[in-house]
């Protein structure tokens, strides 16, 4: 059950001795190893809880901030059909944020608190959204590559050990498929268009390729959390495994579009059965993560002003609800 309210039933503060904790941890790990789900009220190690809060809230923030680069093109979509599709997609991203905030709340953090962390700039979100959307082709490239990479990341999380996160991911993955396909369709239309349109598609691929493959996170040798997260079955594949899978399925799609992936070292390795690819510039990834990407400041400003501009609506709704409650009480 997605709720904090259940805790008012008490029994929370039973003090456990150190020996009991070890037994509880062994039992917890046993459940995880047996592929049983952990649900909100079940005992879990504090570090597991904190890891999930961090990961799910970052994921939720990414969905919300992710609405901005694409929202930028709603008013300039080339046709009414494209516009309707883009609105639906951006609305989905908002919905995904809501599912994920709900899942995070089951771990004992309040929505308000997560929102404050985002607005204060202390919470992270996917660094991909700190890149600008300069042309309409970027909307296609985002759907095809960014949503494609997100799907690759998210499908294994549908089997995550934490029930509410896994269920939210199932719902999200069902919806993401449309996002990727509409993006590819935009790229296809451009790739089959005039030479200017083809150039636009190529330019978008040039700018989005490397940031997209960095979305899988640092290389396995650098990734701090991977081993523990895999033991807890929060994570099922390593960053490098997922990145390789993504490149293997995306390279032929680029070829179909007649576009060139901006990596001179990208080559099919017949013996290995995978594409080999060039060195990733991790200094760029780190810089964007630290707040020095092209749009970090703009994205947070947009979120803050949306929050401020919506304040009167929230206050009015609360006042209205209070008035209704008072009126109902008087009648009763």
């Amino acid at each position: 059950m997605y709720t904090q309210g259940l805790d008012s039933l008490g029994k929370e503060c039973v003090h456990t001795a150190a020996g009991d904790t070890a037994a509880l941890e062994a039992r917890f790990q046993g459940k995880v190893d047996a592929d049983k789900k952990i649900e909100p009220k079940d005992w879990m190690p504090e570090a597991y809880r904190q890891t999930l809060i961090r990961q799910i809230s970052q994921h939720a923030h990414s969905e919300i901030v992710g609405m901005l680069p694409e929202g930028n093109w709603i008013s300039r979509a080339p046709t009414l059909r494209r516009k309707a599709v883009l609105i639906a997609k951006v609305q989905d991203e908002g919905g995904h944020g809501m599912y994920l905030y709900s899942a995070a709340e089951t771990l004992g953090i309040e929505r308000e608190q997560m929102l404050q962390q985002l607005l204060a700039g202390t919470a992270k979100y996917s660094s991909i959204f700190n890149y600008p959307t300069l042309t309409w082709a970027d909307v296609g490239a985002i759907g095809w590559l960014v949503d494609g990479a997100a799907i690759m990341n998210q499908i294994p999380i549908c089997r995550c050990s934490y029930g509410p996160y896994a269920r939210a991911m199932v719902r999200i993955c069902k919806e993401e498929s449309f996002h990727q396909r509409q993006g590819f369709e935009i790229m296809l239309a451009l790739a089959r268009g005039t030479s200017e349109q083809q150039a636009m598609a190529q330019d978008a691929l040039n700018r989005w390729w490397w940031p997209s493959i960095m979305m899988f996170g640092p290389s396995d040798t650098e990734s701090k959390h991977t081993a523990q997260s895999m033991r807890w079955k929060i994570k099922r594949f390593t960053n490098d495994e997922l990145r390789q899978k993504f490149i293997d399925i995306t390279a032929p799609q680029a070829k179909f579009l007649g576009l060139r992936i901006p990596d001179p070292d990208l080559v099919w390795d017949e013996a290995g059965g995978h594409f080999k690819f060039g060195e990733i510039d991790w200094s760029e990834f780190q810089a964007v993560l630290k707040g020095n990407g092209p749009c970090n400041r703009e994205r947070l400003e947009a979120r803050r002003s949306a929050h401020e501009n919506g304040r009167w609506v929230r206050e009015a709704a609360a006042a209205h609800a209070e008035k209704q409650r008072a009126r109902a009480q008087r009648v009763a």
Binding site: M1, Y2, T3, Q4, G5, L6, D7, S8, L9, K11, E12, E39, K41, D42, W43, A88, Q91, D92, G95, M98, Y99, S102, E105, G108, I109, E110, R111, E112, Q113, R167, A168, E175, R314, A317, A318, H320, A321, Q324, R325
Partner: protein, 100 residues
């Protein structure tokens, strides 16, 4: 567990149940915040039924739900554990007996 954080300005939390089509029961799908029940229904429509996932919505304040404690699950469900005779497969019936 550190669950009971101090009250915030958040609107109350509602649990959402959706009937996906007539003939099926309402099923829990998630939760959301809303100022009141009417807003919770509208938000539930936008958050959980963007692709015609439902024909009916229930919302209920999370605080109003009373739940069993997972720590007590063993004791709570123990009475049913040794009563396999409640299942039809418990009874051995000769093959030649039909329609039973």
């Amino acid at each position: 567990m550190r669950m009971n954080t101090p009250m915030s300005n958040d609107w109350p939390l509602y649990e959402v149940f959706i009937r996906s089509r007539a003939g099926l029961e309402h099923k829990h799908v998630g939760s959301l915040h809303a100022a009141d029940a009417a807003m919770a229904v509208e938000h539930a429509r936008d958050v959980y039924t963007r692709r015609q996932e439902g024909v009916s919505i229930w919302v209920v304040r999370s605080n109003d739900i009373v739940a069993s404690d997972p720590n007590d699950a063993d004791a709570l469900f123990e009475p049913a554990r040794d009563k396999v005779y409640r299942h039809p497969t418990f009874y051995a019936i000769p093959d030649e007996v039909k329609n039973l």
